[in-house]
C-alpha cells in the first residue's frame, strides 16, 4: 500500500490537497482537503447590506459574477423588490453572468484541464504559417519550457496533428476568454469584479452601441465554441474514451437553475429559469429542489461538532483546527442525506430530464457522435462535454437576450433600506449551485452565509462516513503509475474545483468570534 499526496493540486482555483491510499494499483481511499480559510462571513458582519455584492464577489476572481448575482438576489429579496426589477435589469444581469460562464468554461477546458491530455511539445518542429504555433515552436526551441514542465509523462494519446491543433487552440482560447471578459465589461463595467450588478438591477445605461458591441462579440464567441471548443472536447473524448467510464462520484445531482426568465417570485427555486433547477438521481429521475433538505456536516471538518450537522440557517460554526479525525476546512453539505454533485453536469442532466429542447438536442448530438449513452455522461468526459454544451447553448441565448434590451427603459429601480429583514439568493454559477443568505438588523448585516458549489463537490466525509463526490470519484480507480498520477488529476480537474469559494467560517448567531481559538 502506498499513499500518494498531491499538494498543491494546480490548475484549479485556490488551495487543494488530495491524498489517496493505493493498494495493488487501485485507490482504496481518497481524501480531499481544502487548505485555505479566510472567514468571509465574519468580515461581512456589521457592514452596510448594500456592500454585500461588492464584497462577496471577492470570494472568487474566476467566478465573481455569480456571487454578485446571488448577493443581489438575496438583497432584492430582503428589500422586498424581487418582483419589481425591470426587464432590462433582469436581462442585463443575465448577460453579465452568462458572459462569465463562457469565459469560465473556455478557461477551464483549455487552460486548466487540457494540459492533462494535450502534448504541447508536438508543436516543436512546426514550419507552417500559423502565428500562434510559430510562437509555441520558437518557445520550445529556446528550451526553457516552464510553466509547461514539469508535467505528468507517459499518457498523451493524441496524434501529432491533433496535439498541434489543440495547442494552437490553447493560444487562441487565451484570446477568446479575454474577449468574453471584455464583452462582460460592456454592461458590467470591468472584470474581474464587475461594477454593475446591484440590488434593484444594474447600474449601466443600456445604450444601443453597447447592444451592438455585445451582439457582435457574443456571436464571435459562439462561433469559437461551436467550431473550436466543442469539437476539441469531442476530439479529446474520442482519444480518451475510457474516461467515459471513469470519474462518476455521487448518485445525486443538484442545481438551483440560472438565468431568470421572468420577474422573481420570492422563492428563487420557483422562478422560471433558462437552465431549470432540479435534483436528479443516478436513474435520471427528477424532482424539484427542497432547500430544507440541505444539511452541512462538520464531522471531518475543522469545526466543532456541537454547532454543525444542521441546515445552513441553523448552524453555528466554531473553527477547531486540531479536531481529531478532521482533515479539511470544507464542510460537507448533503442533500436529503445523500452525497450530491453540483455543476454543469447537474445542470445538463436537470435540463435534459426536464425536456429542455436545446439541451436535449445538443446532448443527443454529442452522444451520437461518440457512440455513447446518457449514463456515460456521469464521468470525466461527461463533465467536459456538459461545459461545452452549456457554453454553446448559452452563447446563442445571450445573442437573443441582448436584442430584448429596450434602451429607453430603466435597468435599475430604487428601494428603501429596511431596518430588519432576511433574504435568500440561490442560483447556479459556472461551477454549480450557490446560495447566499442574509439577515439584516438595525440596517446592518447581522449575519451572512454562503454555501458554495465546490463545498458540495470537494467535501470531506459526513457523519455517516460517506465520502464527498470527488473522493467517491477517485475511489476504486486504477492508477497505472504513482509518479505520473494522470487518472487522479484528470478526475479532480473534471469537477473544475474552486477552493476560494468553498471555504468559509459561518456564524449564524454571531457568537463564534468570542469562542474562536487556534489550538
Amino acid at each position: 500500500m502506498a499513499t500518494v499526496v498531491i499538494d498543491p493540486v494546480t490548475r484549479i482555483e485556490g488551495h487543494l490537497k488530495v491524498e489517496v491510499l493505493i493498494d495493488g494499483g487501485y485507490v482504496k481511499e481518497a481524501k480531499c482537503s481544502g487548505v485555505m480559510f479566510r472567514g468571509f462571513e465574519l468580515l461581512l458582519k456589521n457592514r452596510d447590506p448594500r456592500d454585500a455584492q461588492r464584497l462577496t464577489q471577492r470570494v472568487c476572481g474566476v467566478c465573481p459574477a455569480i456571487h454578485a448575482t446571488a448577493a443581489a438576489l438575496a438583497l432584492d429579496n430582503a428589500f422586498g423588490i424581487d418582483g419589481k426589477l425591470t426587464q432590462n435589469g433582469r436581462i442585463i444581469r443575465n448577460l453579465i453572468l452568462g458572459s462569465n460562464y463562457l469565459q469560465s468554461h473556455i478557461l477551464h477546458f483549455y487552460h486548466l484541464a487540457a494540459l492533462d491530455y494535450v502534448d504541447v511539445t508536438a508543436a516543436a518542429d512546426y514550419q507552417g504559417s500559423d502565428a500562434d504555433l510559430q510562437s509555441v515552436s520558437s518557445f520550445l526551441a529556446r528550451g526553457a519550457l516552464e510553466p509547461f514542465v514539469p508535467r505528468c509523462e507517459g499518457d498523451y494519446r493524441l496524434t501529432k496533428q491533433e496535439n498541434r491543433a489543440a495547442t494552437a487552440h490553447y493560444v487562441q482560447a487565451l484570446r477568446m476568454r479575454r474577449k468574453a471578459h471584455e464583452m462582460l465589461a460592456i454592461f458590467g463595467g470591468k472584470m474581474p469584479h464587475d461594477m454593475g450588478i446591484v440590488p434593484g438591477g444594474v447600474t449601466v445605461t443600456p445604450s444601443v452601441d453597447k447592444i451592438a458591441a455585445f451582439y457582435h462579440s457574443v456571436n464571435e464567441l459562439g462561433a469559437f465554441v461551436e467550431n473550436v471548443y466543442l469539437p476539441d472536447v469531442l476530439m479529446v473524448a474520442g482519444a480518451y474514451k475510457d474516461y467515459f467510464g471513469l470519474g462518476k462520484g455521487a448518485d445525486t445531482f443538484l442545481c438551483y437553475g440560472a438565468f431568470d426568465l421572468e420577474g422573481g417570485t420570492s422563492d428563487p427555486l420557483r422562478r422560471k429559469r433558462f437552465f431549470p433547477g432540479g435534483v436528479v438521481d443516478g436513474g435520471l429521475n427528477r424532482a424539484d429542489v427542497d432547500a430544507a433538505k440541505i444539511i452541512e456536516y462538520v464531522t471531518c471538518s475543522w469545526y466543532e461538532d456541537r454547532g454543525g450537522n444542521a441546515h445552513p440557517t441553523q448552524e453555528e460554526t466554531i473553527p477547531a483546527q486540531d479536531k481529531p479525525g478532521a482533515y479539511s476546512w470544507l464542510k460537507a453539505p448533503r442533500y436529503d442525506g445523500k452525497v450530491t454533485e453540483v455543476g454543469p453536469l447537474a445542470r445538463v442532466l436537470a435540463a435534459y430530464v426536464a425536456g429542455h429542447e436545446q439541451v436535449k438536442k445538443a446532448v443527443d448530438e454529442v452522444l451520437t457522435s461518440l457512440g455513447g449513452k446518457l449514463p456515460e455522461l456521469l464521468s470525466v468526459c461527461g463533465r467536459h462535454a456538459a461545459r461545452a454544451i452549456e457554453a454553446k447553448i448559452l452563447a446563442a441565448a445571450l445573442a437573443d437576450w441582448v436584442m430584448q434590451i429596450k434602451p429607453r427603459e430603466p435597468a435599475y429601480i430604487d428601494y428603501q433600506l429596511p431596518a430588519e429583514s432576511e433574504g435568500a439568493g440561490l442560483a447556479d454559477g459556472p461551477r454549480g449551485a450557490l446560495g447566499h443568505w442574509i439577515r439584516i438588523k438595525a440596517r446592518k448585516i447581522d449575519n451572512y452565509q454562503l454555501v458554495v458549489p465546490t463545498t458540495w463537490n470537494a467535501s470531506p466525509r459526513d457523519a455517516q462516513g460517506q465520502p464527498g463526490p470527488i473522493e467517491l470519484a477517485l475511489t476504486g480507480i486504477r492508477v497505472r503509475d504513482e509518479n505520473n498520477p494522470f487518472e487522479i488529476v484528470r478526475i479532480v480537474r473534471s469537477f473544475d474545483p474552486c477552493l476560494a469559494c468553498s471555504v468559509h467560517a459561518v456564524d449564524w448567531r454571531g457568537r463564534s468570534l468570542a469562542r474562536y481559538r487556534i489550538a
Binding site: R11, F37, L43, S135, S138, T203
Partner: protein, 305 residues
C-alpha cells in the same frame, strides 16, 4: 526579435487569494498574455515562469521542489506574491515538507530572501485588502508588513488594485526588465509606480465637470457625478479614467457605479460603506444642510434626498 534571449526567472505564488489578480493579468490585451508566456516581453528577455499554480502543468511534490530550488539558488528571480499572508499559518498552506503542511507565510519568507525583487500583486498582497479587513480573523498582512517584521530587505514594488489592471502589473515588470528597479522619485510612499498611481481618479474623472457644476446623481443609474452616492474617486490614486478597463471597454464610473477605492491601503474598511458618502469633502457646488449632510448648492440638481 533578438538572437540571444535571456531567461528572467519568475516565481509567482498565491497566498490567501481569490485568483482575481491572475485572471486580470491574463486579460492583458497589450501585450497579450500568450506573448508574455511564450515570447520576448521586451527585446532579448523572456519571462521564465517557474511557478504559477493556476496555469502550470505540474502538481504536487515536483512543483514544490521548484520553490525549494529557487529559495536555495542565487539566480535572482522576481518573486510575485498574490493574496494576503495569514500570520495564522494553518489558514493558508502551500505544499508539504517532511509530511507537514507549510504555511504560505513561510513560503513567502523563504522566497523573498533570495529574490532579486518582490512584486506584491493586488491590494491583498500590498496592504492586506479584503481578507485583512475587520475582524481579520486569520491575522492577514500584506507583503510589506511581513518583510518589515522579518527584516527582509529585498526591494519591493507594490501593484495594488482589486484586482489590479493588467497594464499596471506588466508595466511594472517591463520597467524592471528594461531599466531595473525604479528610481526613488518614480514610486510613491506606498511603493507604487507614479506612472500608474500618481494621480487621483477625481483629478481626471470625465464627470468632474458635473462635480464642479453641482450635477450629482441621486440614483445609481444616472450619468452625473457619483460623489454623493459614495464615490471614492477623491480618495483613490489610479489611472482608471484614462486607461479604462478590459482593453478600453468601460470602467466603474462610466458604468454609473461609484469608485470603491480598491487600490488604496484602507480598502475596504476605510473606503466603505461603498454607497454612502463619508468623505465629507467640500466643494464649490456643495453645502452642508441643517442635518450636516452635503447637498448641492444648485437647487436645480437632480439630487432629491
Amino acid at each position: 526579435m533578438s538572437k540571444t534571449v535571456r531567461e528572467v526567472p519568475v516565481v509567482w505564488i498565491q497566498a490567501a487569494s481569490d485568483s482575481g489578480c491572475t485572471v486580470s493579468v491574463i486579460n492583458s490585451a497589450k501585450p497579450e498574455i500568450h506573448s508574455v508566456l511564450l515570447q520576448e516581453i521586451v527585446p532579448g528577455r523572456h519571462i521564465n515562469l517557474r511557478f504559477q499554480a493556476t496555469i502550470m502543468a505540474g502538481q504536487g511534490e515536483p512543483v514544490i521542489r521548484i520553490l525549494d530550488a529557487a529559495a536555495e539558488s542565487n539566480e535572482g528571480y522576481i518573486l510575485v506574491v498574490e493574496g494576503s499572508i495569514p500570520l495564522e499559518e494553518k489558514c493558508c498552506t502551500l505544499g508539504q515538507r517532511d509530511g507537514k503542511e507549510v504555511g504560505a507565510a513561510e513560503r513567502v519568507r523563504e522566497l523573498a530572501h533570495k529574490a532579486a525583487a518582490v512584486i506584491a500583486l493586488g491590494t491583498c498582497a500590498c496592504f492586506g485588502g479584503i481578507f485583512a479587513s475587520r475582524p481579520n480573523y486569520s491575522r492577514s498582512v500584506g507583503v510589506r508588513e511581513l518583510l518589515k517584521r522579518e527584516r527582509i530587505e529585498t526591494p519591493l514594488l507594490n501593484v495594488p488594485g482589486c484586482p489590479p489592471h493588467p497594464d499596471w502589473f506588466l508595466g511594472t515588470v517591463a520597467h524592471v526588465m528594461l531599466f531595473g528597479l525604479p528610481a526613488p522619485d518614480e514610486v510613491d510612499e506606498l511603493g507604487r509606480l507614479k506612472l500608474f498611481y500618481g494621480r487621483l481618479i477625481h483629478e481626471n474623472c470625465p464627470r468632474r465637470a458635473h462635480f464642479d457644476a453641482g450635477r450629482f446623481a441621486a440614483s445609481l443609474s444616472e450619468p452625473y457625478c457619483l460623489y454623493l452616492l459614495g464615490c471614492r474617486g477623491p480618495q483613490t490614486s489610479a489611472d482608471c479614467p484614462t486607461r479604462k478597463w478590459n482593453n478600453g471597454t468601460n470602467w466603474c464610473i462610466e458604468n454609473n457605479h461609484p469608485c470603491i477605492g480598491c487600490c488604496e491601503p484602507e480598502f475596504p474598511d476605510g473606503t466603505s460603506p461603498f454607497f454612502v458618502n463619508t468623505l465629507g469633502m467640500h466643494a464649490p457646488a456643495l453645502r452642508l444642510d441643517e442635518q450636516g449632510m452635503l447637498r448641492p448648492t444648485n437647487t436645480d440638481s437632480a439630487f432629491l434626498r
